[in-house]
Symmetry: C2
């Protein structure tokens, strides 16, 4: 390293995403990974993507290979507007295609956050986005949840006391807990946001992956003043490797994010936007999602059945959808210490402490079921159970 190099202060205390680091540890072919949030290989539409990529480049290649607008590849912007309307059950003033919904969070922080500004987060929450907020030097304020998601009284108290700029919430099959925000709490959150002038980042990548129960209206659908920004993703329903997501919400907020995106990456690759566009236009998504849901529902059930055999004192959530089950081990059992022993047995997970803005909770862990076969779920969960016996 160059001598005396002076890096930026935003990296003080940042050590990299725990999941990304665990990914490297477990990059062995015979590892059973309940870490990560990878779709199943069978859920990745490689044959369709190959056909579509060739087709869009043959039909519109000169435009796709040329510089595009920061606002997005025009055919995709058009189909995205229709898709978002249908997803959210409401007309949204503006959409912006982004390079994965990771970038949606980054741009929203870029638009809103000065060092020291408060962001309210669920406790626990998605660690990738927690790291994003930390790099903007935000003050992360955890808000408690119960079985039905964020507790409205606690949320209002936190808004009153901390005057946050953003509330970050994953309403459906939350990452990491798998919990869903109750229907009756959703309009309340929209109201509180308007009353306390807080931007709600409604991050909803798992929405379509519901296995039981009813689809619930988005928080955005109750938003009358434009405080709710919806962060959407095609990572879990088409492909994460494509890096195509979107922001949807108030025109001025989206405009500020667009301005920020000009110097983040100028625009999202036209090719990946065009592939997702064609996927939508050809009407491939509903059938594809139906197939994925069916498979994931079986995998989720299989993992829950294995958890039912775990020793007494091990508690876990029973998600209605998504990719994750959240496990609380008996007090005093440390998931960080369990991980290397599990990796020895060729099983991986993510220790839960990484998902807490303020750390602690070392007896928790997150399990992913979408990226393992039924056999792997059986073998891997048996190994974990034996380690805990």
């Amino acid at each position: 390293m160059p001598q005396n190099i002076r890096f930026a202060q935003r990296f003080n205390g940042i050590s990299g995403s725990a999941i990304r680091e665990i990914f490297k540890l477990i990059a062995q072919p015979d590892m059973i990974s309940f870490a990560g949030g990878n779709p199943s290989p069978s859920a990745l539409p490689d044959a369709e993507a190959a056909r579509i990529a060739e087709q869009v480049l043959r039909e519109d290649g000169k435009r796709i290979l040329q510089y595009g607008a920061t606002e997005g590849y025009p055919p995709f912007v058009e189909s995205l507007k229709g898709y978002v309307r249908q997803q959210l059950g409401t007309e949204v003033p503006a959409v912006l295609p982004v390079t994965g919904s990771t970038q949606a969070m980054d741009l929203l922080c870029k638009a809103m956050i000065d060092p020291g500004d408060a962001i309210l987060v669920e406790d626990p929450s998605f660690l990738g986005n927690l790291q994003c907020m930390k790099l903007y030097q935000a003050k992360l304020v955890p808000v408690p949840s119960d079985e039905n998601g964020l507790i409205p009284e606690a949320l209002e108290e936190a808004m009153r006391v901390h005057r946050p700029k953003i509330l970050y919430v994953i309403p459906n099959f939350q990452n990491p807990t798998g919990k869903t925000l109750a229907a009756e709490r959703r309009p309340l959150i929209a109201e509180l946001a308007a009353r306390y002038q807080v931007v709600v980042a409604e991050d909803d990548p798992y929405r379509d992956l519901r296995y039981t129960g009813e689809f619930l209206p988005s928080i955005k659908s109750y938003d009358t003043e434009g405080w709710v920004v919806f962060l959407g993703s095609f990572s879990k329903i088409i492909s994460p490797g494509m890096r195509v997501g979107y922001l949807a919400g108030d025109a001025d907020i989206v405009r500020k994010c667009t301005l920020g995106k000009q110097s983040s990456d100028l625009h999202t690759a036209n090719l990946t936007q065009a592939v997702v566009d064609r996927f939508l236009r050809e009407g491939l998504l509903p059938g594809h999602i139906a197939r994925i849901r069916k498979d994931y529902a079986v995998q989720c059930e299989a993992m829950l059945a294995e958890l039912a055999k775990f020793p007494e004192g091990v508690r876990y959530t029973k998600p209605e959808g998504g990719l994750f089950i959240w496990v609380e081990l008996p007090e005093g059992v440390n998931a960080l210490e369990l991980l290397p022993r599990a990796i020895e047995r060729k099983v991986a997970f993510v220790p839960g402490t990484h998902f807490y803005a303020l750390g602690g909770h070392e007896n928790t862990l997150r399990l992913n079921f979408s990226n393992s076969t039924l056999e792997q779920i059986h073998t891997g969960m048996t190994a974990l159970r034996e380690l805990l016996a």
Copy 2:
């Protein structure tokens, strides 16, 4: 807009890239655009890209559609290392694929810049990256150039006085001036960087587009301590719409940028990395570049021939490569006022003042020749000349 929304301070005084805004103004089919830095449509390899995209998805689709490593799509990282070694004439410890070299600059600022830190920039310089630096709330310090690029004495003085964290320099066929940094100044810059502990961002997207003269060694090739970070791009030689660029340099600096990239967009789309990878592996680049250079050389000459007919008092650069010619109008002639009149005549350019960190120089403008046919160059330059007569 939501009432009383509090945006981040970094946007104070930021109004969006002038080029991006001009793009929108001139999105008429009969407009002759000397604005922008678009490759010629004939330089965009759409047929090859269609074939290759289909092929990589057919052969490695499951990996391409899945989450990838922030460090890059492994086959591309491998071919990129070889490519960079050959480009820079030196072994480089680390490379990182990024979402266009726009992101390379963003990540380097993210790694290095706290608000108020000084960045030395050429005067004028690439406005997209100037905006990036402003969004990191850097203090931009312009360093004067002569016909041979940055003046070493002025550079040393600026390093001594301002203690900058970064020097941003475009050594070949600079944007916007078309000037090239003289060979003998390159080792000097590497030395000064080490002496004053300044990271040099060597931004070199036009390197391969040389029409006359000799290829010059990179600044990076004289770097013994790791202070020079090379920002590379495939935008001008394959496709800007793909958004594939790279960072190359010291392992610890690249590691810090990688950490920053985790929460910027997680990773660059695997598909676009795979397409560029295959382009390199199939050895398509040298022949493709040779064809582009031949065409652009003719377009450059044609525009210079038109400029020779301009009224006395109009000065312009004679670039040895790249995409741009820089024009100084007589003192008192304002290019900002000229632009709407030119657009009425269906010709567009970028006023030069936008490229100056501190503004001023309203009598300058930038012309691009790569995205216009010879006929368009004749027609458009004739219209401009008549406006100035």
